[in-house]
Structure formats: structure tokens, C-alpha cells
């Protein structure tokens, strides 16, 4: 019966689904905030800072300009680390694609280095790279690199060889094939990697800021923690979440534009 209704009234159905999703989201947010408020009342302010206090703190932070400075500092390190990692994580597979032997030789080392617990090395990273942005940059780069390296390689292995053959017969150079066919084919994989890697980059920066920094969202959280300011910690966490959501929204917009040729992207739009 539902199928028939969908066929008869596609527009009404789409509109209804849209409202159902938005309504569901709002209801979920309300439930979460209520549970949060309930936690604060029963367990006390040290355990859970009440939502209104957190909101008030965020407004104060925003008004004083502190929030913007923190976000700018965190984003500076995240973006720089992300850019370096993205460059290496995408270029390396594209170069290795040319040689199966080189790939097989290099792969175990890359996988082994992925196993290094980066945060455990934090004191040594500070020892090696000082207390500026550099140690954080190294951690962010390492965290992001593997995600993009693995997703890009998966994309390259998924390229349709028949399209490459067709392009060769037509007379396309290897450069054109790399740019037009391989790159475009791996874009969906690349965006999947971006969506995993970007929040990770921000998280890694924030954790890095716990350990060593003079500014940033992570340092704000750490500072509040040291003086047992639960409201300050919660405010920092909310800012971090908002930051990740905002970045994810931007990545989604870019993805939708770059992959507008994909049938799934259209069909999945609500």
C-alpha cells in the first residue's frame, strides 16, 4: 500500500518525509538536552554543567572574542596538517599506481607506521619538534594521511579498466587519463576519506592542544579542566562539535557539486 501511495503522490510524499526528518532531528535534540539538564540536576554541576550555563558561557566567549581566537588557532593547525596529509595521501597512491612492485615494497612500512600510537609519543614529539605548532601538526598529518592514503588507493583499484582502454584507443595521453578518468573515478572515495579525515584532524588538533599550546579550543578545554570548571569544558566541547558539523556541511556541499553526475547523489536527495 505504501508503494502505491508513493507512486501517486510523489511530491506530497517528499515534502512529508522532509518534515518527518526535520521534526525527528528536533525531537532528538530536545530529548538530549532534557537528559543533559536532568543529569545536571540529579548529579550536580561538577558532573554535568546545565545546558543554559553552557550556552551563556559560549555567548560570553563569543562576545569577548576568545572563541574566535581559539577557533582560528585550532583551524590553523588542523587545516595545515590536513593540507600536508591530503597532498601526500593522494599523491603517493597516484605515483605508486605506476609500479606494482614499488607498491608492494612500500605498503608494509606504511601499514606498520600506521600502528604507531601517536599520542603515546607526545612527549618525544615535543622533544623533537618543540612546543610550537609543529608537534601538533605532525600528529594531525599522521592521523589524516592514512585515511586519505587508504581511501585513495581503494578508489584507484576501483577504476574501470575498460574506460582507460577506451581512452587509450581514442588517443588520450597518460596524463589525460590520470586527470580525467582516474581522478574523477576516485572522487567519491576521496570525499568519503575527507568526511572521515576532517573531524579527525580537528579532534587530533584539540588533543594536541591539551598537551602543548598557548591557544586553541583544546587549550580552553584543558584550562577549564585544570580549574574544575565543568561549564568551561562543556562549552569547549560544544564549540568543537559545532566546528566539525560546520566543516562537514561545507564538505557535503562541495561533494554534491563535484559529484553531481552521480545518480545516487540525486536519488538520495530528500
Amino acid at each position: 500500500m505504501t508503494d502505491i501511495a508513493i507512486d501517486n503522490e510523489p511530491h506530497a510524499n517528499v515534502a512529508w518525509r522532509k518534515w518527518a526528518i526535520h521534526g525527528g532531528r528536533l525531537a532528538l535534540a530536545a530529548a538530549l538536552i532534557l537528559a543533559w539538564e536532568y543529569g545536571a540536576r540529579t548529579l550536580g554541576r561538577l558532573f554535568f554543567a546545565p545546558p543554559l550555563d553552557v550556552l551563556e558561557r559560549i555567548v560570553t566567549l563569543a562576545a569577548s572574542g576568545q572563541m574566535l581566537t581559539d577557533i582560528a588557532a585550532t583551524m590553523r593547525v588542523s587545516a595545515a596538517g590536513f593540507a600536508i596529509a591530503a597532498l601526500c595521501g593522494v599523491l603517493l597512491p597516484l605515483l605508486l599506481r605506476r609500479s606494482l612492485r614499488a607498491t608492494e615494497a612500500v605498503e608494509p612500512y606504511i601499514m606498520a607506521s600506521m600502528g604507531i600510537p601517536k599520542y603515546a609519543l607526545a612527549p618525544w614529539l615535543i622533544l623533537w619538534f618543540g612546543i610550537g605548532d609543529l608537534p601538533k601538526l605532525v600528529v594531525v598529518t599522521l592521523v589524516v594521511f592514512y585515511i586519505l592514503y587508504i581511501t585513495t588507493f581503494a578508489g584507484i583499484r576501483g577504476v574501470d579498466q575498460r574506460l582507460i582502454n577506451m581512452a587509450r584507443v581514442i588517443g588520450a595521453s597518460e596524463r589525460v587519463i590520470a586527470r580525467e578518468i582516474i581522478w574523477t573515478s576516485l572522487l567519491p572515495f576521496f570525499f568519503t576519506g575527507l568526511k572521515i579525515a576532517f573531524p579527525r584532524a580537528v579532534s587530533a588538533t584539540i588533543v594536541g592542544e591539551f598537551l602543548v599550546s598557548t591557544e586553541g579550543v583544546g587549550r580552553s578545554i584543558e584550562h577549564a579542566r585544570q580549574i574544575s570548571d565543568t561549564t568551561g569544558v562543556f562549552a569547549g566541547v560544544v564549540i568543537a562539535i559545532a566546528l566539525v558539523l560546520a566543516i562537514n556541511g561545507i564538505v557535503n556541499l562541495i561533494e554534491r557539486w563535484a559529484l553531481r553526475w552521480r545518480p545516487v547523489e540525486r536519488d538520495m536527495q530528500i
Partner: protein, 268 residues
């Protein structure tokens, strides 16, 4: 008889063994063995063979996507075949076009941009070639669909797009691998008629592979019959049905039934 433009001499093909598991076993079987034929300039040659007769492999070797194991291919007076995969020159300098069984359209390019792809990569995109592309799009009834992506087109429309993507850059030889196999009967007849109309305009040299005997007769000047694996030429038939042919009524034409029976007897 005009000199052969393309000559296949004692061609043999078998695939390399897979690494590891198959190593040390007896060599893989021949897909094609001792296969010879030639094509004249401007000839429409059809090749009929049962499924799994190595038809696609044969065209891949001629298009130089794959190497020949034995024998040689002479094109325009020069030996072009090679045993070294790295020395392959797919499409040999854009003189051999290849319309594959799958349309292989680029999913991120719309109809017009798929057709223009060949001209773009060859650095030959100008007002004149663009006008030719638009003429071909109109000729096969795709006007109005220039800005549709492949997934928005029907199977027949995708076939037409793939066909004119090759025609637009005007290679002297075109290989076709069952290009109309995956569409319904009416669309197929229409596509055949379109192809013949386009061929009458330019008289390219075409090697058209199919498992459909009717199609082989309707389109070709000459039909070769392939044996089962390993592929050899089992028979050769000249098709003397006068052109222009009406593909829709091909059954009714004089001589059709006789040639059909002969080819059917040869196809194992």
C-alpha cells in the same frame, strides 16, 4: 579486388597464466589459433561466432589493447602487432576506432561532452569539428539530449552516443563488438539502420562482430564465421544483397533465406 587495408596472419592468442596458483600447470588453452583474414578499404565485414568464441579477444588484439601470442597483423602495409604489452599502441595513432560491447561512456560527462571527449584529447576541438559532432548527434536522434548524463539515457541512446563518439573523429577503420546486443529488437533494428545510413555517408572500413546471423547479413558485404574455441575462420560468405538495404524488411529480400541457411549450417 582492392589491396587489403588490414590483414590478420596466422593469429594466435592465449592468456598468460595467473601467478601462483596456476604456475607449473599445463599452459592455458588457445583462445584463437591460426586465424587469418583480410579486410579491404571501405568494406563492411561482419564476423559471426558463438558465445565464447573469442570474438572480443580478437577485436582487443586488433585494437592493440591486448597482445597477440603468435602471428601478425599488417595494417596499411606495416606490421603493427607486438608481443610486448608495453609496446602496444591502442588504436594505432587514432586510425582504428573501437565501439565496445559496453558503451563505456564517461559517467561524469553528458552526451555532448562524451562525444567531444575524443576531439578534446586529440586537440582537435574547433568550430568545424564541433559542428560535425552536433550534426552526428542530430543524425542519430539525440538532439535535445546533449546535456543528459549517461545514466539518464536509455540503453539505445547510450549505444548511439558511444557510436558517434567514435565516428566523430573519423578513424579509417572501426571495430564493433556486438554493439547492439544489449538492446531490444526494435531498437536494434533502428540502430542498424542508423549505422548503415552513417556508413553510406562515409564508407569506413568496418569489422563488426556479432552472434546474430541476421545482423551479420543485414549489415555486411562479407560474413566470416568463427569456429568454437580455439577460434579459426570456419567459413566465408559474400553477401550480395544490393544496397541501400532496408534493415526492417531484410528477411523478405531475395537471397536472404539462402545465405541465412548457409551461415547457420556453418555456425556450430
Amino acid at each position: 579486388m582492392a589491396a587489403a587495408l588490414l590483414e590478420i596472419r596466422q593469429l594466435g592468442k592465449r592468456f598468460a597464466q595467473r601467478q601462483g596458483r596456476d604456475q607449473g600447470r599445463e599452459p592455458s588453452p588457445w583462445v584463437i589459433q591460426d586465424l587469418s583474414f583480410s579486410v579491404r578499404e571501405g568494406e563492411f565485414l561482419t564476423i559471426v561466432g558463438p558465445s565464447g568464441a573469442g570474438k572480443s579477444t580478437l577485436l582487443n588484439v586488433i585494437a592493440q589493447i591486448d597482445t597477440a601470442t603468435t602471428g601478425e597483423i599488417v595494417f596499411d602495409g606495416a606490421t603493427v602487432s607486438t608481443r610486448d604489452p608495453r609496446a602496444l599502441k591502442p588504436g594505432i595513432d587514432r586510425r582504428i576506432g573501437y565501439v565496445t560491447q559496453d558503451d563505456n561512456l564517461l559517467p561524469w560527462r553528458n552526451t555532448l561532452d562524451n562525444v567531444l571527449f575524443a576531439l578534446e584529447v586529440q586537440g582537435r576541438l574547433n568550430d568545424e569539428t564541433r559542428a560535425r559532432a552536433e550534426m552526428l548527434i542530430r543524425a542519430v536522434g539525440l538532439a535535445g539530449f546533449e546535456h543528459y548524463y549517461p545514466h539518464e539515457l536509455s540503453g539505445g541512446m547510450r549505444k548511439r552516443t558511444a557510436l558517434i563518439r567514435t565516428l566523430v573523429y573519423d578513424p579509417p577503420v572501426i571495430l564493433m563488438d556486438e554493439p547492439f546486443a544489449a538492446v531490444d529488437a526494435q531498437t536494434r533494428t533502428q540502430l542498424q539502420a542508423d549505422l548503415l545510413a552513417l556508413w553510406e555517408l562515409g564508407r569506413k572500413t568496418i569489422i563488426f562482430v556479432t552472434h546474430d546471423i541476421t545482423e551479420a547479413i543485414a549489415l555486411g558485404d562479407r560474413a566470416l564465421v568463427l569456429s568454437k574455441q580455439p577460434s579459426r575462420i570456419a567459413a566465408e560468405h559474400a553477401i550480395r544483397i544490393p544496397r541501400p538495404r532496408n534493415v526492417k524488411d531484410i528477411f523478405a529480400l531475395e537471397g536472404f533465406a539462402a545465405i541465412y541457411e548457409k551461415i547457420r549450417a556453418d555456425v556450430q
